[in-house]
C-alpha cells in the first residue's frame, strides 16, 4: 500500500513523512496481534486485506465518489445516523481515533487530561496523517460528553464540524429533541450534498444499513456458541471495519464469515477449547487499531465472546429500524426510537445498560466481565462503579480497568488481566 497511492495522498494534503512512519508501523502491529492467532476463520482474509488497504483502496473509492460530486461524512459515534447520510447520497466513515501515534499531536491543541480517543482524533487531523479526515467534507460531532462537546468547537477551525445535540435523558421531551435533531440533520445533509432526501431514499438507505446491522447481529449470535467459533480480536476487527467499509460489500463478506462460523459451530470447532474462560468486555469503544485489551485477554487463553461497547453490542442496540410508512417524519421517529435504545453512558439514569450487561453475561455464558474505560472518560469511568456493584450482586466476577492507547501501560494491564483470569 505505498507507491501506487502516493500521488493520491499528496493530493489529499497528507503529511507524507509522518504518514510513512505510521504506515511502516502498522503492518508489524497487525501481524503480531492478528496473524499469529490459532484456528482463524478463512473468511478473515477479507478483513486482513481491508486493513492492508486501510489508507489505500478505500480512500481511492472515497476520492472517486467525491470526483463524481459525492460527499463524505466523518463520524465518531453510533448516534451519527448513517441512514440519513446514505439517503442523501453521501458516504459515512468512522474517523481515525484509536492510535497512540497521533496523541502527541492532539495534545498540541487540546489539554492532556482528556481521553485518548479525543486526543487521537484531533491529532490525526492536525498532523494530517489520516486520509479519512482529509477526504471528509463534514465531520459529525455529538454531545456525548463534555470533552467531545468542546472539542468540536476547536476542531471546527480545522475541518467543518457539525454538532448533533444528543439529549442526556430519555423522557418524551428528550425523544422529541432527538427527532428534531434528526430533522435538522436531514436539512444539513441535503444542503451539503445538494440532494433531496425523499421518504423512498431514506427507506432504501435504512434497508441497506439494516442489512449491515443484521449481519453483525448474526455474527454476535454465533459467538454465543461454546467453543467460541471466532476470537474476540477477529470479531472486533469486523466491527471496526463496518464503520468505514462500503456497507453492501461489508454485508456480503461478513455473511460469508458467518456461514463459515455456522459450519464451525455445527462441527463444535472453536478458536479455543470449550473450557476456555469466556470474557465479556464492557466499556468504551475500541476504535481501530486499538486491540490491546482483547489481545491481552486472549493471550491468557481466555476468549472475548462479546463486547458491550459502541464497537460491539451498543452499535446493534435496537435491532432493525422499522420502515413502516412512506413518510419522512414517521421514519425519522422510528430511527430515533431505534437509536435511543443505545445505552450510552452519557444518559442519566442509564440502568438499562447495566441490565444489558447482566443479560449479555448470561446469553454469552461469560465467566467474567472486564470493564475498561479510557482514562478521563468520566461517563464510563463513573458508570463502571455501578456496573461493578451490579455484577458483584449478581455473583459475576468483574475487573475494572482504565487506560489509554499507549504501550506503556501494557505491563500492568497484563498483570491485572492475567490475575483476573486466574481467579475465574
Amino acid at each position: 500500500m505505498t507507491e501506487q497511492y502516493r500521488a493520491m495522498w499528496e493530493k489529499l494534503g497528507l503529511d507524507m513523512q509522518t504518514h510513512d512512519v505510521l504506515l511502516q508501523a502498522l503492518p508489524a502491529i497487525y501481524e503480531k496481534t492478528y496473524l499469529g492467532q490459532k484456528e482463524r476463520p478463512q473468511a478473515m482474509g477479507f478483513y486482513d486485506y481491508v486493513v492492508s488497504e486501510i489508507h489505500g483502496l478505500r480512500i481511492k473509492e472515497l476520492v472517486e465518489h467525491r470526483e463524481k460530486g459525492g460527499k463524505v461524512f466523518g463520524a465518531f459515534c453510533v448516534y451519527a445516523p448513517e441512514e440519513v447520510i446514505v439517503a442523501g447520497g453521501g458516504i459515512c466513515v468512522g474517523l481515525c481515533a484509536g492510535a497512540d501515534f497521533s496523541v502527541p499531536a492532539g495534545e498540541r491543541i487540546v489539554p492532556r487530561n482528556l481521553c485518548a480517543l479525543i486526543k487521537s482524533a484531533v491529532g490525526f487531523k492536525v498532523s494530517g496523517v489520516c486520509p479519512y479526515f482529509q477526504v471528509a467534507d463534514l465531520v459529525i460531532g455529538e454531545t456525548t460528553c463534555d470533552g467531545k462537546k468542546k472539542t468540536w468547537e476547536i476542531l471546527n477551525d480545522y475541518i467543518p464540524t457539525y454538532v448533533m445535540d444528543l439529549p442526556n435523558s430519555r423522557s418524551a421531551a428528550d425523544r422529541d429533541l432527538w427527532i428534531t435533531e434528526l430533522k435538522r440533520f436531514v436539512a444539513k445533509v441535503e444542503e451539503t450534498t445538494g440532494n433531496t432526501i425523499t421518504p423512498q431514499k431514506l427507506a432504501d438507505a435504512t434497508t441497506l444499513i439494516n442489512r449491515k446491522r443484521a449481519v453483525l447481529q448474526r455474527l454476535f449470535n454465533l459467538r454465543k456458541a461454546r467453543p467460541a467459533p471466532i476470537s474476540g480480536l477477529d470479531a472486533l476487527l469486523a466491527v471496526q471495519i463496518s464503520f468505514y467499509d462500503d456497507p453492501a460489500r461489508f454485508t456480503l463478506k461478513t455473511g460469508e464469515l458467518c456461514d463459515e462460523l455456522e459450519a464451525r459451530v455445527k462441527a463444535e470447532q472453536g478458536v479455543a477449547p470449550a473450557k476456555a474462560k469466556r470474557i465479556l468486555y464492557a466499556g468504551t469503544p475500541m476504535p481501530i487499531p486499538f486491540w490491546t485489551i482483547p489481545s491481552l485477554i486472549e493471550q491468557t487463553g481466555a476468549v472475548v465472546v462479546v463486547e458491550e461497547s459502541c464497537t460491539g453490542t451498543r452499535l446493534l442496540a435496537g435491532g432493525q429500524t422499522s420502515i413502516t410508512d412512506n413518510n419522512l417524519d414517521a421514519q425519522l421517529a422510528a430511527l430515533a426510537d431505534r437509536q435511543l435504545q443505545t445505552n450510552c453512558a452519557c444518559f442519566t439514569p442509564n440502568s438499562a445498560r447495566i441490565d444489558d450487561i447482566l443479560r449479555l453475561a448470561k446469553e454469552y455464558q461469560a465467566d467474567g466481565v472486564i470493564h475498561f474505560s479510557l482514562s478521563f472518560c468520566q461517563p464510563y469511568n463513573l458508570e463502571g462503579i455501578l456496573v461493578r456493584k451490579a455484577l458483584k450482586n449478581a455473583g459475576i466476577p468483574v475487573l475494572l480497568l482504565d487506560g489509554d492507547f499507549s504501550e506503556e501501560q501494557a505491563g500492568q494491564l497484563k498483570t491485572r488481566i492475567e490475575a483476573f483470569v486466574e481467579t475465574l
Partner: protein, 260 residues
C-alpha cells in the same frame, strides 16, 4: 522432587527452592539490566522438576525457556502468604514498581485484588527515590524516619518527581529531616491504606514484598489500619515461594490447581 519459584521483579529477583515440604534455599539479588542472565546465574548447576516464574519478567522467562510455567505475582503472593500464615485473608505487597492488595480465600486462592496506578507513587520506588535524595539506603532511611520526634511533616505531593523537589525545598527551609522522612513514609502509607480499605481487610493481614522490610512502613500501616500485621521473616521471597509451591502442586496433576 525439587521445584523452584522465580520472582523476577522490577528491583530484585527472588529464587526459592522447595522440596515438597520446606524451603531448601532462598536468594534475593538485584534485577539489573539483564534479568534472565542474572536468573540463570542464580540457578547455575541446578535442575528442577519444575520451575514456575512470576513477577514482571515472567513472560520473558517462559518465552526463553528458563521457566516451565508462569503465574501472576498476585496468585503467587496468595499461595506464598497462605503457606506462611494459613489464616491469612488479606495480603499487601509493596513492590518496586507496584503495590497490590489481595483478598485471599480460605485455601490461598485469590478472591479479589487491586493494584496501584501505573506510576511510582505508592510503590517502593517512591521511598527509594526519597531515600536517595536524603543520601540514605532504603533500610537506613526507614530507621531514620522512626527516630523523628514530633509529628510528620506533611507532604502535599504524591508524584515521585514533584515530591523530590518538595523534599528538597522542605529541607532547604530548615524542616527537621527526620520528620520529613516520616512524612514521606506517611504519604505512601495514606495512599496504600486507601487502597486496602477499598478492597476490604480484617486482622488476618500479611504485609510482604520489599516494602515490608521497612519497620517504619510496618508501624505506620498497623496504626492506620488499627491492626497487627503479620510480616514474614523474608518478605521479599513470598512470591517466589508461592511460585515454587505452585510448581510442586502441579506435578503429576497438570490440571489440578490446589491453590486458587
Amino acid at each position: 522432587m525439587l521445584t523452584a519459584g522465580l520472582d523476577i521483579g522490577s528491583r530484585t529477583i527472588a529464587l526459592v527452592e522447595w522440596d515438597g515440604q520446606r524451603v531448601v534455599r532462598e536468594e534475593v539479588i538485584n534485577t539489573g539490566v539483564d534479568p534472565l542472565e542474572n536468573s540463570r546465574r542464580l540457578m547455575e548447576g541446578k535442575t528442577y522438576t519444575k520451575l514456575v516464574a512470576t513477577g514482571y519478567g515472567r513472560g520473558l522467562a517462559v518465552e526463553r525457556e528458563v521457566a516451565n510455567e508462569v503465574i501472576t505475582e498476585i496468585k503467587a503472593y496468595g499461595i506464598g502468604a497462605f503457606h506462611l500464615f494459613p489464616e491469612v485473608r488479606t495480603v499487601l505487597d509493596i513492590g518496586g514498581q507496584d503495590s497490590k492488595v489481595i483478598q485471599v480465600k480460605p485455601g490461598g486462592g485469590v478472591a479479589h485484588f487491586e493494584m496501584n496506578d501505573r506510576c511510582a507513587a505508592g510503590t517502593g520506588r517512591f521511598l527509594e527515590s526519597m531515600a536517595r535524595i536524603m543520601n540514605m539506603e532504603f533500610d537506613q532511611f526507614s530507621q531514620y524516619a522512626l527516630e523523628a520526634e514530633g509529628s510528620a511533616v506533611r507532604l502535599s505531593s504524591i508524584c515521585t518527581v514533584f515530591a523530590e523537589s518538595e523534599v528538597v525545598s522542605l529541607i532547604g527551609r530548615g524542616e527537621d529531616s527526620r520528620r520529613v522522612a516520616l512524612g514521606i513514609h506517611q504519604a505512601i502509607v495514606s495512599r496504600i491504606c486507601a487502597m486496602v480499605k477499598r478492597v476490604g481487610f480484617d486482622h488476618r493481614f500479611v504485609f510482604a514484598g520489599g516494602g515490608a522490610r521497612s519497620l517504619c512502613l510496618q508501624r505506620l500501616i498497623a496504626q492506620e489500619l488499627s491492626i497487627q500485621l503479620s510480616v514474614p521473616d523474608n518478605p521479599q521471597t513470598v512470591g517466589a515461594l508461592g511460585a515454587a509451591i505452585h510448581a510442586a502442586n502441579g506435578i503429576g496433576h497438570p490440571e489440578r490447581r490446589k491453590h486458587g
